[in-house]
Amino acid sequence: MILGIALLLASSIGLGATRRGRLSGPARLAALFLFLWLIGCFGAALALPDDRITLLLGLPVRTAIVLVGVGLVPLAVLPVLFARDFAEDGDDDTERLIAACRAARSDGGTS
């Protein structure tokens, strides 16, 4: 199930970030990071022994891995990669797309 969830969420990034058949470096990195990170964090939570003595960031180690690892760390990584990917084709790329769509529409076309 962990593998399936990680694959589904990472492939959603891949699907959404593909522009004109190409996946940018930051988007590729984001999908790879999310896939490996989720498998690593959830896998560690399942695999590590149930240690009730050692605390990490004030929480039991396995709980800290899930709460901080999954709940907070991606916030520091994914939005930054999104911003880099968004700027990859220049800030005006969205305006380019809008203009291209308008042109296609005024050409009357359905495909």
């Binding site: 699907l15 058949g21 939570a45 709460l67 916030l75 994914l78 939005p79 990917d85 968004f86 495909s111």
Partner: protein, 505 residues
């Protein structure tokens, strides 16, 4: 398996909070909301103003309003109660918050914004209609949104009545009427333009209240380490990563709420409203950061109350919904309690306002379009539809606790199973077909209603780890891919040239 009904609250009363300071903060909060609403109502002149805030909002407004709409009263009352009961496993409901905004950014934000501008769209089903050149798909999506909206609004009206009763001591029924009247006072005349700016204020109150309470919660237990040590000594299984849930059940919630975020119309709808699409670059960062701040209370109060009960500082809670009120009564100064209650009220009102808007748009726009009709005066009919929708939601909220509970559990799953495949995946995949979209929406609609009804009526219990919402979403996704593949010869014909450019990015 322990069921997790996603209602704002699971009980029909909170401890009384009738105190002058809290009433004062509540009145101040309502006054500010009223001031913003009056300002916005004067600027509402067209259907575009009413349904998409005139398409002129900025990035901060978009992100905070989306956060405010996404997080209902559940995050402040029902959620901490679930954490108190189920342990860390309950956090899996909100754990995807650090991920979903970025995925939504990649999959939907730019595409919806561009599609809205090029086609002049106003509603989420509009985007489905444009993607598949299909009035049927648009109408069916409108029906699904309408059904889910009535349920969501009914549960939130009930929740608002409970909060107003706790603060002002007016009784539940009168509290529901007062709450509904306040929301309608700015939603009916001002629509989304009034809603979006009150959302910004309400989102700010919500985040501030959450942050203050989180700090107070950590202080009560001697920091996170002190709280953990206390709980581990008394109920160690509560502190495991899955809490009282099985790993499968916890991960199932992560899946449903991770993928389901791509199908929430009250959030997606707001992408139409952004003035400058290039500003979307920083949307995921602002949305995720504000959402996580607003969710600190969800985790913090659950942990603090579990530790407080374990230490014997407070007696065991009679019901889970008492977690936040009991924490405020014992550990927060009255002013902070007032801010938190304003935060709860803000959470409920911002969510209701957004749902009323998307629901009214379904009645005014999407369903008539599917029937081949156009409403002449969408602004006027939109206002009337908002009133009708509110009355529909008020009936179960006032009359029946059990019916409102059933309606409440439909919402999230219904949106996820009907909109994630057809809208989110359809806008990124040119191989999706009209037949695939219609079939997946139908399967999502019927599947969610049937599965949730069976579970709710205790006619059938799914195996541990399987949720009705998760099952419906999987079935809907499989249907979408299978029918699209079977009808793949039609894929190109179902895609206009401009929409193809958007799908291809």
């Amino acid at each position: 398996m322990i069921g997790v009904p996603l209602l704002a609250f699971q009980s029909k009363a909170l401890p009384s909070f009738v105190r002058p300071e809290i009433i004062g903060v509540a009145l101040l909060y309502f006054t500010v909301c009223a001031g913003i609403a009056v300002w916005a109502v004067r600027r509402t002149r067209t259907a575009t103003d009413y349904f998409v805030a005139g398409q002129r909002i900025g990035l901060w407004t978009l992100a905070i309003a989306a956060m405010a709409a996404a997080l209902s009263g559940f995050g402040f009352i029902g959620g901490p109660g679930l954490v108190y009961t189920l342990g860390i496993g309950a956090v899996f409901l909100v754990l995807p918050a650090s991920i979903t905004s970025s995925i939504t950014g990649w999959v939907l934000a730019r595409r919806i914004r561009v599609l809205g501008e090029v086609r002049g769209l106003m509603t989420v089903p509009d985007a489905i209609g444009a993607r598949y050149r299909s009035r049927s798909a648009q109408g069916l999506a409108g029906v699904a949104i309408l059904v889910a909206t009535v349920g969501y609004v009914a549960t939130n009206f009930l929740a608002l009545g409970i909060v107003i009763d706790a603060v002002f001591g007016v009784g539940l029924e009168r509290g529901i009427w007062i709450g509904a009247a306040v929301i309608l006072a700015y939603t009916v005349p001002g629509g989304m333009l009034a809603g979006i700016y009150t959302d910004v204020f309400q989102g700010t109150v919500k985040a501030a209240a959450s942050a203050f309470v989180f700090v107070a919660a950590l202080r009560t237990g001697g920091g996170l380490g002190g709280i953990s040590t206390t709980i581990l000594a008394n109920d160690p299984s509560w502190m495991t990563p899955w809490g009282k849930l099985t790993p499968l059940a916890a991960l199932s919630y992560f899946f449903v709420f991770g993928m389901g975020a791509l199908g929430q119309p009250h959030v997606i709808h707001k992408f139409y409203m952004l003035k400058e699409p290039r500003k979307l670059r920083w949307y995921p960062l602002l949305m995720a950061a504000s959402l996580i701040v607003a969710l600190l209370l969800f985790v913090g109060v659950g942990l603090a109350m579990k530790a407080a009960v374990a230490r014997g500082d407070v007696p065991a809670l009679a019901k889970p919904d008492d977690a936040t009120p009991t924490f405020l009564l014992h550990y927060a100064p009255p002013l902070l309690a007032g801010i938190v209650f304003a935060g709860v009220t803000a959470a409920i009102m911002s969510t209701v306002n957004s749902f009323l808007n998307v629901g009214a748009a379904a009645i005014t726009h999407d369903i008539p379009v599917a029937l081949g009709r156009r409403v002449d005066n969408e602004l006027l009919v939109g206002r009337a539809s908002t009133v009708v929708l509110s009355l529909l939601a008020l009936m179960p909220a006032l009359k029946s606790g059990t019916l409102v509970a059933l309606l409440g559990v439909f919402g999230w799953g219904l949106f996820a199973s009907t909109l994630v495949p057809s809208l989110a995946l359809g806008l990124c995949w040119s191989g999706a077909t009209r037949a695939g979209a219609i079939a997946s929406i139908a399967v999502g609609l019927v599947g969610t209603l049937t599965a949730e009804s069976l579970v709710w009526s205790k006619t059938y219990a799914f195996p541990a780890g399987v949720t009705a919402s998760g099952l419906s979403l999987v079935l809907s996704l499989l249907t979408f891919f299978a029918v699209s593949w079977l009808t793949r010869a039609r894929a190109a014909a179902d895609l206009d040239a401009d929409v193809r450019l958007i799908v291809e990015g």
